[in-house]
């Protein structure tokens, strides 16, 4: 039984009818939004115990990474938290840049901030609209997915891809933002707040929604820290840990934003924290556009890591040589060990990279926030109803790709 005061219980301590049943929630169930299995022991609607099985889509990324040159690892990171791939891509690129000691132009950092905040919005939109769906409010979901689509179109303008973006390069971007990108971004910034407000009005102060989510799947701050929670789920429990503020990367210290925190750590607080983070992200994007510094869209002094432009490869000897070296994984990499973390959609996404000077990492470990906080799930749902368990799962925003790596 959960020891947090944050969980409401509809039940008294006695079992309802004393008939214990075992129920498989998942692995493939519409309510689990991914491939997770939860074997629930239930008494009527009340969950007495649950056991998780994970690893259904384990793809051995850490092993794969030991055989891939650095620039070929970016597509692997796409498939961690695939709701916000660009954050993973850029987290990885920044890790390598830290290892090689590259100096990144301010413009690149601002461009990255725009992309990362856009993907954070997309990530939170998925999570929050799905909380709506699980409480029976499908409408908000359909409208928000339209907006998510708009974000994907913006990302498409930069990288050519939508979901698994493989965005950017070690050292910057492959090309500068196009006028069409800014056009789409401005359109999004103009229209999104309107639709977002509608969505907010639909759910945030909705009596039914509040009754369903307040007290569902709560966790206390201390317990969350003990479990290693990070990101919105930790902040909903009242701990204001945000990597963007604690260890600013990519010039986040230049921007003005607040870190919203909750108090109860329940589904409603997680929802509200994400809603507010979306607003803050919008403000960060606005600031980044307005303050966008002049400069280059890639670091010019790391020829051996930054893939040269295709035109140059065809016309210039040096570019061709570097292109060949990078693609064949022949670039000299410094020996070293580096840990770098970014604030992913779900929390602290860390990369622990050990290089022995070879063409591939000697060891690369991902700190996947989902994997770490999903272990608290049984504790959060014990004593609650099955429908609350579904809500808790979607409000934790457990992404199968990140969970199983």
């Amino acid at each position: 039984m959960s020891d947090t005061p944050n969980n409401k219980s509809l039940f008294s301590d006695e079992t309802i009818d004393g008939e214990i049943a075992t129920l498989n929630l998942g692995p493939t169930h519409p309510a689990t939004h991914g491939i997770f299995q939860n074997i629930l022991t239930v008494d009527g609607e009340k969950i007495l115990a649950s056991e998780q099985t994970v690893g259904y889509i384990h793809r051995a990324f850490e092993k794969l990474a030991e055989r891939r040159p650095y620039n070929q690892i970016t597509p692997i990171t796409d498939r961690l938290n695939y709701c916000s791939s660009p954050i993973n891509n850029m987290g990885w690129e920044m890790t390598v840049e830290k290892l090689i000691g590259a100096e990144i132009p301010k413009r690149v950092e601002y461009m990255r901030v725009i992309i990362m905040e856009l993907s954070r919005i997309a990530d939170h939109l998925v999570c929050n609209s799905v909380i709506g769906v699980d409480t029976g409010a499908l409408t908000g979901f359909t409208y928000m997915f339209q907006q998510r689509e708009a974000i994907y179109e913006i990302l498409e303008e930069v990288s050519g891809a939508r979901l698994t973006t493989n965005m950017g390069r070690i050292g910057g971007f492959e090309r500068d933002f196009s006028p069409r990108f800014y056009e789409k971004l401005e359109k999004f910034l103009k229209e999104f707040p309107k639709h977002f407000k509608e969505f907010d009005d639909l759910l945030t102060r909705n009596r039914i929604f509040m009754d369903r989510t307040i007290g569902a799947g709560g966790i206390s701050g201390e317990r969350a820290l003990d479990y290693g929670f990070t990101g919105p789920n930790l902040r909903a429990a009242g701990v204001d840990y945000d990597v963007r503020v604690m260890n600013p990367y990519s010039s986040y210290q230049d921007f003005d934003f607040i870190v919203p925190v909750g108090t109860q750590g329940d589904t409603y607080d997680r929802f509200c924290v994400r809603q507010e983070e979306i607003r803050q992200s919008l403000s960060i994007i606005r600031q980044a556009i307005d303050k966008m510094p002049e400069g280059n869209y890639f670091a010019e002094n790391i020829h051996e890591f930054y893939l040269p432009r295709k035109e140059d490869v065809y016309t210039k000897m040096e570019a061709l040589i570097y292109h060949f070296k990078i693609v064949m994984g022949e670039t000299p990499v410094p020996v070293g060990e580096v840990y770098h973390s970014v604030e992913g959609g779900n929390g602290e996404l860390g990369f622990h990279l050990i290089s022995d000077g070879g063409r591939t990492p000697y060891r690369l470990q991902f700190r996947r926030p989902c994997f770490i906080y999903y272990q608290a799930y049984p504790e959060m749902i014990t004593g609650q109803t099955i429908s609350d368990a579904v809500l808790t799962l979607s409000s934790l925003n457990v992404i199968a790709g990140e969970l199983d790596a």
Binding site: E66, Y227, G228, G329, E348, G350
Partner: protein, 168 residues
């Protein structure tokens, strides 16, 4: 937020545990301290409760396999973080591959549970005292530890592909 320097952390550790602290380095500003495997549990417990350091957040547990380092083949990394001072620390201990035993820290951090299971799953590290040390991401019937270096990503008997040209 106060200024807690890596030197202070190291000095405090050395003062408290003396011989258990083997060596230290600071790659990329992250203090990395090698400790003896038998003391790792106590050090992490002390770091969590110490009033000055307050390193009470476990970021990550991971392992690395160094097959050529006889007697210290498996390296366990513990990343702890003091959210109060915003200082990170990496503790590491080396274990022989024949007996990769180390005390579990699940009694200190609940969140260490799955991280230790994952490390067991991929490297075969035996976390002594872990309540439920089973495989987590791989299937239960697997009889080897796939992240160890002797297991190649591709079939090692393959002859049509020259490794010199394709990765490690």
């Amino acid at each position: 937020m106060s200024n807690l320097s890596n030197e202070t952390v190291l000095a405090r550790l050395q003062e408290q545990f003396g011989a258990a602290i083997i060596s230290s380095e600071t790659p990329y500003d992250l203090l990395s301290v090698e400790v003896t495997a038998d003391k790792a549990h106590d050090i992490i417990a002390w770091l969590k409760t110490d009033g000055q350091l307050r390193m009470s957040f476990l970021t990550l547990i991971g392992a690395v396999h160094f097959p050529n380092d006889k007697g210290r083949e498996i390296c366990i990394n513990y990343h702890v973080h003091s959210l109060v001072h915003n200082v990170r620390l990496r503790l590491r201990a080396f274990l022989p591959i024949e007996e990769p035993n180390i005390a579990t820290i699940t009694d200190i951090y609940v969140g260490a549970d799955w991280l230790e299971r994952e490390t067991y799953d991929f490297f075969g590290v035996n976390f002594v005292g872990h309540p439920d040390l089973r495989r987590i991401l791989n299937e239960d019937s697997m009889d080897y530890f796939p992240m160890r270096k002797e297991y190649h990503l591709e079939d090692a008997t393959r002859e049509d592909k020259d490794d010199r040209y394709f990765g490690r």
